[in-house]
Symmetry: C2
Subunit: 340 residues, 2 copies
DNA sequence: CTGAAAGCGCTTACAG
DNA sequence: CTGAAAGCGCTTACAG
């Protein structure tokens, strides 16, 4: 009862094999596959049968050689242990597949050379770059490639670049507005890790700017500190921040979030009665703790989907650079309440 | 002062361009590149200069068409938000690059069809599969591919398959031994999520078997429960487990770990005085909490590296299937102590 | 130590 | 609606 697929020789089934089996020319098989000219119903049927029967799969290299298209997108991702990164990778992978593209994974530490290599060797048609820094050293290379590139994130200089990101500056403002509405006049920010600030992670600076400006214009006191993702750093950071007796805490650091919540608990600080908490992170992280957290969610799925869409538009010929900043939404949950 | 790389036409630089510029035959350029025959020093020098000057990069599709080799490895990863998955992806990506291979990222939910497509279309030379289940539905396809495949994980039936994994059965035993040595006679296990058991995650069952058998032979009482990665599930799980008054807790669930530690703290259970804790997880997760945890670390970096090495050996012609189970090591830290 | 040429498996004008 | 043929950019026997 075994099917006779792949029986006999182990060699590759080519378009010529299919053509012979179907009694047509190779070009006809090609056109059936691409739909680029009309084919009689009978021909189509017999060709499609042969394709199935022989288990034909077009050779990607041959196709790319003939068309200058690979249908592969390269994603450049940082390798750190980070759920948000994983979210973005997942989002881009899924939407790439939805558009019949494969995904090549490059790591950030391969640097600019790898980007040029992948494009110049026609391994991928386009690049999606994660974890962009304010003055990213890869920018000159990216610009000189002359091929489709989309950045998830926004560097300082965006001339000629296509970027998509959450509007972190407004996100910072949203946090202040929400807390100010609840009567809070003193806010503390647990920011990204010192490493993130040092490498100039673009979201870190923009969020800080947004929350600072908003605090000023609301007459709200703000104290901000970066925080490394380990227990000691969190304790120190909270020591410093809580010394100012804030009534609300904004956490823009997903890795630190569970540690910080546990530490607040250890210090007998009830959330939200003693301290309101707003987090900027993925929603899954926000609802896994004891108290469901008010968040400004990072919409990784949307951002990843948009990046794929935008880069494919470029592949299709659209060359106008564009910056898209998604308006942040704040989702109120149990971790924020009125100042008591 | 601009360099004259890439000046003028935007079209692809080919081996013919390089040959012309160097005054040699295209085949000579090819041999300089591949090192497959001896080349006079002068010829080599002039060819290498032309390559640099023109910014030549070999066309991957053309090369794969001519050689039947892509130098691309495909990694099939599950998409869930999970640091361990991220660890494995990072490990495989890095070691692939070290061996001059690119990495294509496939998602688990694409199923067996994607695996066949990627191999049959010569998009990748080989497959590395993560998150293997006891009776994984992809196994028949994988076996029929006739191409290099390495599983990270071990299904029940391994005939004809090459697998590499931590020896989770022995890992379970190590936990019991360590705790029994410290005098503990009643152990509780927080296992992987119900979802993991349901899909038959192979490590879940093997670890449970190992810890169960070891507990029996040590005359130690064991109570085990799966646990979903959210606060309510953790609370329920601990309610059930702690009712048995264990003096030690084994946590084989990285996502649950920070929540569980916070919850123990909330219940006034001091670690290790009231309760010893052993975790099976990456070491970064183990040392980020208030108490550095005794672990049996999951050696993602080693496993990923071995998978790449093994799959490349297969690509090079080595066809003998093999099962490699890494012996687990237990790293004692502050979270385990003698039963008081 | 080096060259000329066939062939890898596709796509797409060109011709009918 | 369909076929015959050139060409995409490499590699590798074959010949010298």
């Amino acid at each position: 009862m075994r099917s006779n697929l792949c029986e006999g020789t182990n060699s590759v089934v080519t378009i010529i094999d299919v053509a012979r089996a179907a009694g047509v020319a190779p070009s006809t098989v090609s056109y059936v596959l691409s739909g680029k000219r009309s084919i009689s119903p009978q021909t189509r049927r017999v060709v499609e049968q042969s394709i199935r029967k022989l288990g034909y799969h077009p050779h990607a290299g041959a196709r790319s050689l003939a068309t200058s298209r690979t249908n592969v997108l390269a994603l450049v991702a940082p390798l750190r242990e980070d759920l948000t990164v994983m979210d973005f990778v997942a989002a881009v992978a899924t939407s790439a597949r939805d558009r019949d593209q494969d995904l090549l994974l490059l790591t950030k530490d391969e640097g600019p050379t790898a980007l040029r290599r992948v494009i110049s060797s026609a391994i991928a048609d386009a690049l999606i770059v994660l974890d962009v820094e304010s003055a990213d050293p890869r920018l000159p290379t990216l610009l000189s490639l002359g091929r489709p590139v989309v950045l998830i994130g926004a560097p300082d200089q965006t001339a000629g670049l296509t970027c998509v990101d959450l509007d972190y500056e407004t996100a910072g403002a949203r946090c202040v507005e929400h807390l100010a509405d609840l009567g809070h006049r003193s806010i503390a920010l647990v920011g990204p890790s010192p490493a993130a600030y040092q490498r100039g992670a673009s979201s870190a600076g923009r969020f800080l700017r947004g929350i600072t400006n908003a605090a000023n214009s609301h007459g709200t006191h703000l104290r901000a500190r970066p925080c490394a993702p380990n227990y000691d750093a969190v304790r120190d950071c909270l020591d410093t921040l809580l010394a100012g007796e804030p009534t609300a805490l904004v956490v823009h650091n997903e890795a630190v979030l569970p540690i910080a919540m546990a530490e607040l608990h250890r210090r007998w600080l009830r959330v939200p009665d003693d301290l309101s908490v707003v987090a900027v992170c993925s929603d899954t992280a926000a609802i896994s703790g004891a108290v469901p957290l008010t968040t400004v969610p990072v919409p990784a799925a949307e951002l990843g989907g948009m990046a794929v869409e935008m880069v494919l538009r470029q592949v299709a010929g659209h060359t106008q650079p564009e910056i898209r900043l998604l308006p942040p939404r704040l989702t109120p949950r149990a971790s924020t309440g009125p100042r008591l």
